[in-house]
Amino acid sequence: DTAVSQTPKYLVTQMGNDKSIKCEQNLGHDTMYWYKQDSKKFLKIMFSYNNKELIINETVPNRFSPKSPDKAHLNLHINSLELGDSAVYFCASSQSRGRAFFGQGTRLTVV
């Protein structure tokens, strides 16, 4: 069983479109995250949720809206996609501030 799964794995879309990435964890963790990895492999936190509550919003444009319907899910919706949004997006989860487990990533390409 995959611990942290996100879909889709690849996403190619045109500028201006709206898209969503889904994430689910079956580890029973109370904290979930979205990270963005740029072309230079640098990983940067975007959002952090603890028990479905937004804890961290790291200066992300408000075109990005996370939603946590329950502790096992954290989805990422992106409006009006821009070329600069092209990156790999990783979902992760942890128990409180402990070790974070990462999904396989979603490679988003905006054309």
Partner: protein
């Protein structure tokens, strides 16, 4: 802002040799550190972690050393194998923070 960084972007190692990957951090309030391995097309995978009340921790073929005096973290891999080829990240967590701050990563290439 404060961040965790790695000293070298690339490291080439002969198969069978030991590897040492270094990381410097600047946030003295950080109390938890993790090393991750990321293979091509995959997400970061946990290797080993250490809390600030320790200065050394060993796993299977890996050892993490923490020097709080100079804010330095290192990962030692014994008898490096081809499967160890990947990008390695150190990450820090500050007490009270619900996030990991990552360094830029070191790409390790193992030569046969």
């Amino acid at each position: 802002g404060e961040s965790v960084g790695l000293h070298l972007p690339t490291l080439s190692v002969q198969e069978g040799d030991n590897s040492i990957i270094n990381c410097a951090y600047s946030n003295s309030a950080s109390d938890y550190f993790i090393w991750y391995k990321q293979e091509s097309g995959k997400g970061p995978q946990f290797i080993i972690d250490i809390r600030s009340n320790m200065d050394k921790r060993q796993g299977q073929r890996v050892t993490v050393l923490l020097n709080k005096t100079v804010k330095h973290l290192s990962l030692q891999i014994a008898a490096t194998q081809p499967g160890d080829s990947a990008v390695y990240f150190c990450a820090e967590n500050k007490d009270g923070d619900y996030k990991l701050s990552f360094g830029a990563g070191t790409t390790v290439t193992v030569r046969a």
